[in-house]
Amino acid sequence: MLSLRDLVVEFGTPLGVVRAVDGMTYDVVGGETLGVVGETGSGKSVSVLAALGLLSSPNLRRVTGQAVLGDVDLLALPQPELRRRLGRDVAVIFQDAISALNPVQRVGQQIAEALRVHDRALSAAAARARVVELLGMVGVPHPATRYDQYPHQFSGGMCQRVMIAMAIANRPKVLIADEPTTALDVSVQAQILDLLRVARQETGAGVVLITHDLGVVAETADRVGVTYGGRIVESGDVTQIFTRPRHPYTAALLGALPRLDSASHRLLPIPGQPPDPSEPPPGCAFAPRCPISRGRTVCTEVRPEPVATGGGASACHFPDEAASLLAAKPDDDSEPDSEPAVEPRDEPADAVLDVRDAVARFPVRSGVFARASAWVHAVDGVSLRVPAGRTLGLVGESGCGKTTLARLVLRLVEPTAGKILVDGDDVGRAGRSQLRRIRRRAQMVFQDPYASLNPRLSVGDNVAEPLRLQGVPQGQRRSQVAELFTRVGLRTEHADRLPAEFSGGQRQRVAIARALASRPGLLILDEPVSALDVSVQAQVLNLLADLQRETAMAYLFVSHDLAVIRQVADEVAVMYLGRIVESGSVRRVYEDPRHPYTRALLASVPVPDPVGRAGRQRVPLGGDVPSPVNPPSGCRFRTRCPIATDLCAEEEPPLRLVAGGHTACHFAERTAGQVLEARS
């Protein structure tokens, strides 16, 4: 159906020519899903955009190769010809659906436009009818009303549904989905992936699913292409890729992945960083990071071309050695790092962080005097404790109040009620100087490493900033910064560089070094690895684990990624709409979840293992999270809960001790198995 042949894309930049795509080749045929997976910057998006003539940046230098759709080469077509095929024969679903829709045009009209540009005869009324039908098909409730709304009135998941409706409107032969679920919650992601499956069946199209999430690929793809440095380094059947990878990069990716289903072991990060596309190495692009290359000259000098091997292809000089990397994994399991050496103590006095009934509300201002007419109940009565040397993982969907809670601890958000004690000091009552002392003992690491460092200061100055504020003299600062750099594995020579010169992983190290500067007893980590690729994520997670072992810091680790939390945490708290709905040890929460929300979350996470995926039970959550301005009465989860009864609407279930953990559900006694039985 669609074949990319030897696609090369180059950009001109001030630092030289960047070869973003370097001989990309893949095919997709009708009815199948090709997963294209790879780290950020590996050329996944650029290659499809270039193939469809949608790259419009003025610094585009060169696009060569072929993009054959049916029997025409799209790259050879004049633009008006090409446009006639776009949207009709091949359709694209873009990543950030909200910004991919025209903000000032009605949603329905945008879809109708896709129909009418290819069928001039179609009347407005007929188009409208068809669009309403399409909206219903992709699961947009009240499609006739929604037709006339604007994108900003839709949630991210709903926008993605609209994008899908738009893409399948003309029953294209090929559907390209570029990271269709990246910005979405796991529950919504599961819905969208289901929808994509439906769309493929509906249209019989070949689907190219671009993603960096191995779990998504494992769940949905028939065949997989793994990209590295602007080309496909391995391709093949999905089961084969996950079980018998024939390229060391594929194997390394799998090794770096935290798993939801198995007990934690130390992750195997891929050393180093992806290649700089402006200075491609002469040999294998992966060689500098490759565990099996071991400096072999053939790897560093000769670029391996993809060689077909048993149903797949691998661009490695030694494809057979790759699988051994995967086999090596269990050996590391012996490491005791995340199994707590010390058993949790019960005395509350030892808690470094003690949050009691914390409440944070934000006013919703409206009216003439911008008075608060309503409140966002971002955090609504949360209690938790983190003892020294331990990690509390906080999980929950987007908007449930995780970040707000984390900020409450440092009083970056003013608490509305409740008490927050850091080392026994009340944060809410602290005066200026006391607050400054507390803030020294509790430090924060933010989600986006690109945003959390002051871009105008050198990384060294960034790290030295807390020291400066404490009045540490210059000379002393310098040596302390050097020491911190070494501790987080950064080179001291780089202290004078600007943050812009570093990759995401390195920046997150800088941010961690900065947090360590004042020797805190508590680190608040708000999604510290969410913006990182798996390989780098593993490096940072390992670093955090090592630091905790050395210093016995307490971590409050916030994430929406259940697998990461399982990897790092001792205790887990699950948050929903500003409240903790379940908490307990990792084992209790993951293996014996008693709250239907926890169960639904766990079920929504795509498992990076295609084996047996057909048999897996999926009960993804329906709908969106209700607005925190008007949380539902009684149990907040009841509107999406599969087992809710009238009782749930009337009475709010308290967080109570169930099976060694705490669960806030009226029916917490029922195990997952019992619920399933009751259903069928």
Partner: protein, 315 residues
């Protein structure tokens, strides 16, 4: 949206009040007073004092201000020290002329700015694009008064195609006459403002062209012309509306220099001479009127913006 509107109206009142105090403060800080100008260089101190008393200039600042505000809320802005006519009538005399000039200038501005902006945004490296970019720079660099003078000398004095000074001729009475009277000052203004507007349009159009939804439209198969017309321009016009609104506001507040050069009987010239003559009542009423017009216009732009942009309208 309505709450927002009401809030804007309140802000409007606050700024107006602030403005009135500021204008009063300034007029009192001006050296000289209506009496000095009225009586000229040879007046004696006694005459000055007598005239001041007659004009009510010897009352205290606060007293004068409060009585003025009291009257102002009823729409009475006092009387000009010179003509003795109510300030409101003096202003009303000039408003039609100002509105007409502003209208023609704005029309010209848009007629020039839109095609220029689009060409510069979409074809910056074409011959036309480069030439028009030169126009954008030149439009900024040439002082408006200088351009006005050149236009007068060439078109009015030398060629005698158009009149050098522009009397106000109402458009509905004599469209041809009105056009010949306003075209030169309007051109002199529009060369500057159109280059500013065109830049804005070009910049925002350039930005919009890089947006995801443009890519989406292309991916749908929409022909490029329609992508620009239906998707890009609509979005790019949003920030430009604000600029056009601000510009119209400044036009209505009077284009002092151009009105002086073309001797056009607009508000700007009225205020300029009123300041020179220390016609306090007229300065105060006039400036306040101009400020109010400007703010109201901004308010309208806000509303218009909301109409164009559902993200604002619907929240």
């Amino acid at each position: 949206m309505y709450g927002h509107l009401v809030r804007r109206l309140l802000q409007f009142a606050v700024v107006l009040l602030l403005g009135s105090v500021a204008v009063w403060g300034f007029t009192f800080a001006l050296p000289g007073d209506p009496a000095t100008v009225l009586l000229g260089p040879n007046a004696t101190a006694a005459e000055l004092a007598a005239t001041r008393a007659r004009l009510g200039l010897d009352e205290s600042f606060a007293g004068q201000y409060l009585s003025w505000v009291g009257h102002a809320v009823t729409g009475d802005l006092g009387a000009s020290y010179y003509s003795g006519r109510p300030v409101v009538s003096e202003l009303l005399d000039r408003i039609p002329a100002t509105v007409q000039l502003a209208g023609v200038a704005m029309f010209l501005t848009l007629v020039i700015a839109v095609p220029v902006g689009i060409t510069v945004a979409l074809r910056p490296y074409s011959v036309a694009g480069r030439v028009l970019q030169g126009y954008l720079t030149a439009g900024l660099a040439v002082p408006t008064f200088w351009l006005g003078l050149l236009l007068i000398i060439v078109l009015a004095v030398q060629l005698r195609w158009l009149p050098a000074s522009s009397d106000y001729v109402p458009l509905w009475e004599d469209p041809g006459g009105a056009l010949t009277a306003t075209i030169l000052p309007a051109v002199a203004i529009a060369v500057h403002t159109s280059s500013v507007t065109a830049r804005f349009l070009a910049t925002s159009l350039g930005e919009v062209m890089g947006k995801d939804y443009i890519r989406t439209a292309r991916a749908k198969g929409v022909p490029e012309r329609d992508v620009i017309r239906r998707h890009a321009l609509r979005n790019a016009s949003l920030p430009t509306v604000t600029i056009v609104g601000l510009q119209l506001g400044t036009f209505l507040g009077g284009t002092v220099v151009i009105e002086a050069v073309f001797n056009y009987p607009g508000l700007g010239r009225l205020l300029y001479t009123a300041i020179g003559e220390r016609d306090y009542a007229l300065v105060q009423g006039g400036v306040l009127f101009v400020v109010a017009t400007f703010l109201l216009l901004n308010l309208l732009v806000d509303v218009f913006y909301a109409v164009l942009d559902p993200r604002i309208r619907l929240t």
